[in-house]
C-alpha cells in the first residue's frame, strides 16, 4: 500500500505546465527555461515562428515559395509548420518542396526517399535538381578526385547555385530554408574564427539575396534545434537523420561542438551570439569585396568568375586545389599547378551544365 502511495506522490510531484497550469510539463524550453506541456509547446513553437514571419515580413500574399527540403529534421518541420501556418493565418502562399541531389550514395539517396514521402504527406509538389545534371559531377565523383578535404566547400557552393537553379525552374519568388538558431550561431563563430568579415556581416540576415535572382529567408532563425527535434518527435514527423559521410572532416564540426557545450551551461547563449552577430558593424577602414557578376555564367560574384565556375574549372582540368584556400586565383596558379598534377589521373573533361542566369 505504501508503495502505491509513494508512486502517486512521485507522479503528483511532476511539474505542471507553467503556461496552462493544467497539463503535465513535457519539456524545458532552452530559450526561456519554461517548463511546458506538449499542447502549449506546439502552440508557442508555431506562433513564435508566425511572429518571426510577420515581424520580418518574410513573405507577401500570392508568392510562390520553394522550401529547401533535404528530408532532414529542419526542412521537414519547416515544410510541416509553414503549410500549417499558411492555412491557419492565410498567408496565401503557393508552397513547393525543392530538393538537391548531390549524388552521395548511402546518404542522399535515402534522404530523398523521405522527401518523396513528405511530398505525399504534406501535399506539396516536389522538384529535385541534381549535381550530375547541373554540373556533370556527383559529390562521390568529386571526392574521388579531390580527396576527403574541402568537400563541404565544393558541396556548399554547388548547392547554393543548385537551389537557385531549381527555384528558377519552379518559377518561385522566394526560397525558404530550415537553418535554425544553432546553425546561425555556429556560422557567426565560424566566420569569426576564420576572419571572414564579408560573411560575418551577412550571415545573421534573416533574408538574403534580395538583389540577386531569388531571395532566400530563414524562418527558423530564432528557433532552437532542440525544439525542432522535440516538435518532430512529439508529432511523429517523418525525417531522415544520418550525418553526411563526408562531414566529419568539416571545420564547422568544431564550432558545433563548442556551441553545444555552451548551450548546456547557458542555453540563452545561442540567441545572444546571434544578437551579437546582428549588431556587428564593419569598420570603415576594412576593404570589403564588391559585388558583380561572373564573366562565365552571369551568377552573382565578387570575383571575375564565381566560385562554382572556378571549382568546376578545377575539377575539369584535374586541378583539385583550384579555388581552395585564400588568394588562389585562376590565372596565377593555373600555370603553376599544371606541373604538380603529375600523379593525378586525368579525368575525362566533362561538360558543365549551362549556368546562365
Amino acid at each position: 500500500m505504501e508503495e502505491v502511495a509513494d508512486t502517486k506522490a512521485r507522479k503528483g510531484a511532476a511539474r505542471l505546465c507553467s503556461l496552462c497550469d493544467q497539463r503535465r510539463a513535457a519539456l524545458k524550453r532552452p530559450k526561456t527555461l519554461e517548463q511546458i506541456c506538449r499542447e502549449c509547446f506546439y502552440m508557442v513553437f508555431e506562433e513564435e515562428i508566425h511572429r518571426v514571419i510577420v515581424e520580418n515580413q518574410l513573405f507577401k500574399p500570392g508568392e510562390r515559395v520553394a522550401i529547401g527540403a533535404s528530408g532532414g529534421k529542419d526542412s521537414t518541420v519547416l515544410a510541416y509548420v509553414l503549410s500549417e501556418l499558411n492555412r491557419r493565418h492565410n498567408y496565401d502562399l503557393d508552397l513547393f518542396l525543392l530538393s538537391v541531389d548531390e549524388g552521395i550514395t548511402g546518404y542522399r539517396d535515402d534522404s530523398l526517399e523521405t522527401v518523396k514521402r513528405n511530398e505525399i504527406q504534406y501535399g506539396l509538389p516536389l522538384k529535385i535538381v541534381s549535381y550530375k545534371d547541373l554540373y556533370g559531377w556527383t559529390m562521390d565523383e568529386i571526392v574521388k578526385m579531390i580527396g576527403l578535404k574541402n568537400n563541404c566547400t565544393f558541396c556548399g557552393v554547388f548547392r547554393r547555385q543548385a537551389l537557385d537553379r531549381g527555384a528558377a525552374l519552379l518559377k518561385v519568388d522566394k526560397v525558404a530554408t530550415g537553418h535554425n538558431a544553432d546553425d546561425i550561431a555556429e556560422t557567426v563563430l565560424l566566420n569569426i574564427l576564420r576572419g571572414d568579415i564579408a560573411r560575418l556581416s551577412r550571415c545573421t540576415s534573416i533574408t538574403t539575396g534580395e538583389d540577386g535572382p531569388i531571395p532566400r529567408c530563414k524562418p527558423f532563425k530564432y528557433t532552437y534545434e532542440k525544439e525542432i527535434v522535440m516538435y518532430a518527435y512529439f508529432k511523429r514527423l517523418d525525417y531522415f537523420s544520418t550525418e553526411c559521410i563526408y562531414s566529419p572532416n568539416a571545420y564547422r564540426g568544431f564550432a558545433r561542438e563548442f556551441i553545444k557545450d555552451l548551450e548546456r551551461i547557458r542555453p540563452r547563449a545561442i540567441l545572444d551570439i546571434i544578437k551579437s552577430g546582428e549588431n556587428f558593424r564593419i569598420s570603415t577602414n576594412t576593404k570589403m569585396p564588391e559585388q558583380g557578376t561572373c564573366e562565365r555564367c552571369g551568377y552573382i560574384s565578387s570575383q571575375k568568375w564565381c566560385k562554382a565556375c572556378v571549382l568546376l574549372e578545377g575539377l575539369n582540368r584535374g586541378l583539385p586545389k583550384l579555388g581552395i584556400g585564400r588568394s588562389r586565383g585562376l590565372d596565377n596558379d593555373g600555370r603553376k599547378d599544371m606541373k604538380h598534377s603529375n600523379g593525378t589521373k586525368n579525368i575525362e573533361s566533362k561538360q558543365c551544365g549551362t549556368l546562365d542566369f
Binding site: 503535465r24 524545458k28 532532414g72 518527435y233
Partner: protein, 99 residues
Amino acid sequence: MQLTLEFGGGLELLSNSVKIHNVNVELKNGAEKLTMKDLLAWVRTNLIKERPEMFMKGDSVRPGVLVLVNDCDWELSGQLDTTLEEKDVVVFISTLHGG
C-alpha cells in the same frame, strides 16, 4: 529492472542499427534505486558497440543528444539524477546531423 530504451536521430547506428531495446538492468550492489547516471554507464558498456564518444561525454550524454523519460524531457526530472522505475521508457535522440 525492465526498461525499454529507444535510440533515434542516428544513434541506432552505434548499437547495431537496432532502434528499440527491451532490457533488464541490474542495480548495483546495495543500491536502492537506479538513476539515469547508472543507466548511461550500463548502456555504454552493454549496448553501444562502436564510437562511444558519439553517445557520451564524461558522465553524461554528448551535448546535442536529447533524453526523454516516459516522453518527458529529462531536464525536468533532474537529468542524471532522474530515478527510473520498472517499465520506464527512455528515449535518446541525437540532433547532430543535417537538417
